[in-house]
Symmetry: C2
Subunit: 367 residues, 2 copies
């Protein structure tokens, strides 16, 4: 554990005061901002996500806004999805690659209008990167970071809570679709989304002055459903097979290696970033893939800051990129980024700081 | 204070084990890596830097390496310094701007050879950004992050310690100049540099397997000089007028606003990033500048995560971007990023979370 002291180089979200009031006990730094990771009882928070409804400050998911005549063209240049049929109000999970096909982020794209898009980003500086691209290409579009900060409601009871605040129309939102709305005068965008597989919504606050008030409105509405604070949950996301770019990937990871092939359309225009390199990789085939790992042992032994080597038949075949105790599987589980030689069912050995540990490769997701 | 738990999305430096052994008690996240900020006795660490020698893990200063036929051309494209007379073995403080003249980083440039440069960077993703530029421009240069991690020796006795390990030749190194060398077989690059004004060196470890050993070699050599662990020190850097990009700057800060004009050469080639916007700003004149602030009160009251508004004659004129207790000045001091209307000598009011606080603007540096 590392204690971080305040500096203006890092930022807080509009929900920071609310999360302090809720008793946040640890956090991480994400897009140079504070993101709560637990409120002191990780096990209760886990079950609340699986069985009830959990309220998350995910304001660190910054919006990279594209606005102007070339916004649609730029959106397509940056993503490997085919956006030609994307409609206003529609969102898409849209991994981004750099020119040499390394996965650098996996945002949710929100198309507001033909000339207005948001990328709701993971942890890397897409604002800086996209601004370099538009300037080099002379595109007529402004790339900015608007005052927009998501809060998530996740879990099987999230829909009931969000419907009680916003109205029953939210029940008809398809996955990743969204709509602008107001809550007691506070402007928000409501999307069916969230970094779990337990269902739920993200409420994008569009005026940072009202973070505490918005938090408390949903907290009150959730009380009959047993709502409580939580955060993106390492165990649940691992069980569910969700990707953490930068954690599960390295500086050379292409999308085919980490189960993103269905989000890569090789027929996107030739000026799409990374597409030439991706077509070549698709022809030659990737050399690694991502599998699940179930480790022996019945004591929680999470990964630290470092990928751990995996041996297959005595030789290094890849790395374990995350590891966490699963309360439902009652085992340490993780991801392997590993040579194609290694297949689900294979027995492997992980070189852990505590010693060699046996494990078995499995297909993802676990649950 | 925020507690951060391990994840492979964040990294440690090769000196991490050594800093744990030294008793590191808090850290920050910088370039998605752990950087120690104190070892439990900030006051002793401060005086050790001012009067003795302090040993720092600054492995978070990642190297962005440019290698290949167009390395020199790319280095000039990225920086506002004139590099035409830069020699192998020479380093330069080299702020980077994006296309619209916002300061995005302020690295030290190291010219190793005509086809090999490093930028030793502050906290933003220059690797991602520079790779976008070279791909868009079709430059023949590879931009990578080599296995290089700086450790700093800072303070008036640093030279004696470094000379005792490396030899007396280090005494002849001019500021920011460097030389490759070995320490007991460990490859290093030794540069007169460091993020303080107390003098010293950075030892760039060029093989991450030897972090603990390198740390301990310098620790042993420093023992007769009273060496101890430390870190970049908010109070000292503020007293000395050093800039923290991202902390003291915002998304619109140009170099003329933060005392970097002497590192901007308006005659660099037209394809230098940001130069067109900088020439326009130079013609029109900047609208803000950076001054020091001395606050009333005799209780330490550091800034949190948020810039604080500054009032001049009752109206908002700028923001206080950092604030820290100075042990030598016995006052809270900070920086103002403020309208040109405000000048050194002016009395201002800072809107602090604890209430309105009187302050006086002064020229930087303080000491």
């Amino acid at each position: 554990m590392v204690a971080v002291f305040p500096t203006a180089r890092l930022r807080t979200s509009p929900f920071h005061e609310a999360t302090i009031a809720e008793g946040m006990t640890s956090a991480t730094i994400y897009n140079r901002m504070i993101m709560p990771t637990t409120y002191g009882d990780p096990e209760a928070e886990y079950w609340r996500l699986i069985e009830g409804v959990s309220q998350w400050d995910v304001g660190v998911e910054r919006q990279v806004q594209l606005k102007g005549p070339d916004a649609g063209r730029l959106a397509q240049i940056l993503t490997l999805r085919d956006l030609s049929n994307c409609k206003p109000g529609q969102g898409k999970y849209a991994p981004l690659c750099n020119h040499r096909a390394t996965v650098i982020n996996d945002p949710i794209l929100l198309k507001h209008a033909d000339d207005l898009y948001w990328f709701s980003i993971a942890d890397s500086d897409i604002w800086l990167w996209a601004n370099a691209v538009i300037a080099e290409r002379g595109l007529n579009v402004e790339v900015s970071e608007p005052d927009v900060s998501p809060m998530a409601l996740q879990g099987p009871k999230a829909e009931a809570v969000v419907a009680s605040v916003m109205g029953d129309w939210v029940r008809d939102l398809k996955y990743f679709w969204f709509r602008d709305a107001e809550v007691e005068g506070i402007p928000v965008t409501v999307q069916r989304s969230g970094w779990s597989k337990q269902g739920g919504f993200e409420i994008y606050l569009r005026d940072g002055r009202h973070g505490t008030r918005l938090w408390n409105i949903f907290k009150e509405a959730g009380r009959p459903h047993g709502i409580g604070p939580g955060a993106p949950t390492s165990a649940e996301r691992t069980e569910s097979g969700l990707l953490s770019v930068g954690g599960d990937t390295d500086a050379d990871t292409n999308p085919f290696e980490v189960r993103l092939e269905k989000y890569v359309n090789l027929d996107v225009p030739d000026d799409t970033l990374g597409i030439a390199a991706l077509r070549q990789i698709a022809r030659e085939g990737p050399r690694r893939h991502q599998l699940g790992l179930i480790l022996e042992g019945d004591v929680p032994a999470p990964l630290g800051f470092t990928h751990e080597d995996i041996l297959l038949r005595g030789a290094k075949a890849g790395v374990m990129t995350n590891c966490v105790w699963s309360l439902r599987m009652k085992a340490n589980i993780g991801y392997a980024l590993i040579s194609l030689e290694a297949q689900a069912g294979d027995a492997v050995v992980i070189m852990r700081p505590s010693g060699m540990t046996a494990g078995t490769l499995v297909e993802l997701p676990f649950l």
